[in-house]
Homo-oligomer: 297 residues x 4
């Protein structure tokens, strides 16, 4: 171990353009959230969509605090088959409605290549989760929808393996890919995962694709999320993804790492100064009444 | 870190019976190879099926050396999209033919839930690779074929996560599952992966499912395969999976870790004494002429 | 792995006071550099002291850019016995002179308990390196000098093990301890180590001791140092430690991760805005002529 | 990650002779235990020497079961300063007496370079523990005693780093070095460490020094020790080191991983067949009365 980093894989043909020459900006809709520009992308929401009330309340809270993308799982990848597997299509519809009420875009995970088209109808951005980073059938199916893709890093994936997974997507003709660091496996049980922020500047030297950071999964501890979110922005991340829940203690999954509405609000208030220090700015907060109120079903 | 192991997950409802109370035996066909009994399962063959000649020659060589299951990839999970992705259905047919000629069963990997039924028609056993250990759509699709499943451990999967992946399969009603240790991620570049043999006795205390070991992927170095194969059997493994290639230097993948026919032969000659020392025995070697010779296509 | 962090060790009797209740400030001399207050500690200098010219030039450059502590190794812990082992006492004297010329304090490593007193005569702060984090004889010897101690995290040390090492020092009656995160072992050869910034907010919840970050060892790649230094400050670090060398390409050790004078200068110019965003400020830059010029020997 | 192992360090000048060309045999005394020959070295005993009764009873039990080296800690490297630190010189004397009664050699750890000579007076072999593998002052001091050295692998040491630590010892003129694999850090809490048996055949290709395996620390679970001890011998280890205690449940340290006398006896009965399968044999069991009975103090 002489500390000399290996050269990047020569198979990075599409995604390997130094971001300092050409930084891609992945836009979710005209005038809407984008990744890689001056404005940060702030993705927030619950781990899983649990009910219409839960997702609407969370959408309202995060939009008012300054988020511009609603995250939330309808198809959930769970370690145990007995854990809550998500509300599926019904959850997608709830999430779409909630997002529309507060002017948010939607990012949500796809687990099965046969679901890619259905999810693409309801979401501006499709997520590949950490467990599926090298699920090549899924990478291709999601790429082929033509929608922007959020590609999370695998639990023990090297940067090269991660970029090669992006290359699988890019080969479908779809280069609207955003990378998301969410922590890797570690020997220390003090945190759930080990958030590897050094990939933020490293990726900027290896790819034109923007990268964001998920400090919620990356630490697994709500009390560490704000500090690591600020650090991610200082390191140059194009955005963050944060779990927020109306009542973390009663969440069906990942409660320990979810912020309350008040915690998320405080966190968002600390962001603009750090963002400005590195030449970035926050999205505008949603103000006013829901855009498209519809009666509850 | 006080070294106290955590208790196993309470969600191991189907697969969690102590093997010392009830050790499952997974049989591939009547009178044929089985996993978990007195006779070891010896799975051998190339990383990828490259041609009819290659797979037939390898089948002959490994059967004569004492293997009873032919391994080989027709659908290959590759880190890079530019690497050889396998011969697909054509490869499956070549492998089936080669196995039948020499009385071998077939184990091969499935990458896409939509391929599970097709592969099940050609193989006695379906493999879930390390990269897909938590691909729940695939776990369910493969389980539903009713065929025996070889479930490789994920690159950084804990034993509990691995057993919960097996539980996903078992919940389809199919408990004919064999676990395969193939090495985990490590900090030491001296080997490709770190082969974790301690899971062999550990699994025996946590599950009734048999477990085998793949020292080829587990080390990534041909010169270490034989010693680790012997160690696996001494630790109590129900079998081994070894990469063998007619000409490792020209293999399209994994050549560095593949044994030549002569190396595999020498290795197999060293096995019976170790197997006997722990109460196991080797399958009979194939002797004589091909069983079902058909003219080359 | 349910993501629930373990409670901290109950053996953290001296060092375990939540920093939000009482944050220790470790001061190196009256009015001089301190760790844990509003002003950041900026430790900079070469990996190893190579010559009087090298260390004097570096001291001048880092002091003028805003560092307040000179780092540099006189006794070097090297993986290979054939690598440069440092200039020893002669190096200490050179470093002391260079620091005095530019108003800097000195931090340098001790490798042998029998050297603790000698090093304590030349340095304001004694460093325990990562390889010796659990060298209990050294922890006690360094603690007993009564001097401030910089305790680097071991290559694969958990936070609890690290704090228990600090407890060994504290038990000598010396609680002037500063923790330094410098990266842990990882599976990804893209960086030399994996910088674990999440320990910064985590330590703040477990100990009153201040913590700094070494992005040079933490990444091993000069091009990543500035981004990770900014991230460390945003995460709440009390300071940073950075390798700077007049000519990294010709450095006898760690050249790949060392900044040039110009790179360090640029980095320091980007710091005040981030520091201010989290309520911290930089030390004053050294301006003017050397304080105590003595003719070269 | 292309799986291609790195070439070994070019700084392995003394210890890097392929064992297949010249396998060193490290002998503890004429006609006594040796490492690297046909006869295995079986090192057994408690984690820590707790009392004269405990160490004498254990020496008797392990000698009668077939061990030829007594292990036990008088100077204990403990993670917490509040844990039992060992009986020191008094413990050394107890251990010496117990070993002499039953014809055993003694291996015990040195923690401080200032203790090397004292320990060398009481023990045939000096141990460098995992936490001190890169404590170069200690490596030199222990090497300079001229006694055989047991060098345990660091918690996250690569094979190259480990061999370079051996090179530090060899440079003192003392090449009587035995390497001991004792598990490395892992992400899976199911075991205390991850026992890396692949180093056994790997070391045989990189060094002439013999290597043994410690399955007690390597797994941290008593129930896994026997299987992993057999696997170590099958992989080619020159011996094993096992923790044995009269009453593991009341041990002051490492009780969870210690075997009872009966468990050790059963384990040793399973060894000869595996040893014979790989061309090795066990030492003779001690039979008869204590050699040098002295009245208890």
């Amino acid at each position: 171990m002489n500390g000399r980093p290996l050269p990047p894989s020569r198979d990075l043909r599409l995604v390997h353009v130094d971001a300092r020459e050409r930084q891609s900006v992945v836009s979710l809709r005209p005038g809407g959230p984008s990744f890689g520009g001056e404005e940060l992308a702030i993705c927030a929401g619950p781990c899983a969509i649990e009910s219409r009330e839960q997702i609407v309340a969370t959408a309202a809270a995060v939009a008012r605090a300054g988020a511009n993308v609603l995250r939330g799982g309808a198809f959930k990848p769970r370690t145990s088959p007995y854990s809550f597997q998500g509300l599926g299509r019904e959850g997608l519809a709830m999430m779409r409605e909630a997002a529309d009420l507060y002017g948010l875009a939607v990012v949500t995970e796809v687990l099965d290549p046969r679901d890619a088209d259905v999810v693409a109808e309801s979401a501006e951005m499709l997520q590949i989760g950490a467990r599926n980073m090298q699920n090549t059938a899924l990478l291709r199916a999601v790429g082929e929808t033509g929608k922007p893709v959020l590609l999370k890093r695998g639990l023990a994936a090297t940067v090269d393996e991660w970029l090669l997974a992006a290359e699988y997507i890019a080969l479908t003709g779809n280069e609207r890919i955003v990378l998301c660091e969410r922590g890797v496996r570690s020997f220390d049980p003090a945190t759930r995962n080990l958030l590897d922020l050094s990939v933020v500047p490293l990726l900027a030297r290896r790819t034109h694709l923007p990268a964001i950071v998920d400090p919620s999964h990356g630490t697994g501890v709500a009390g560490l999320v704000a500090a690591m979110g600020l650090a991610a922005v200082a390191a140059g991340a194009a955005g963050i993804m944060v779990e927020v829940h109306p009542d973390p203690a009663s969440a069906v999954s990942d409660g320990m790492q979810s912020l309350t509405f008040a915690e998320f609000d405080t966190f968002m208030e600390s962001m603009p100064a750090v963002a400005a220090a590195v030449g970035r700015r926050l999205p505008q907060r949603f103000a006013g009444v829901p855009l498209n109120a519809i009666p509850p079903s």
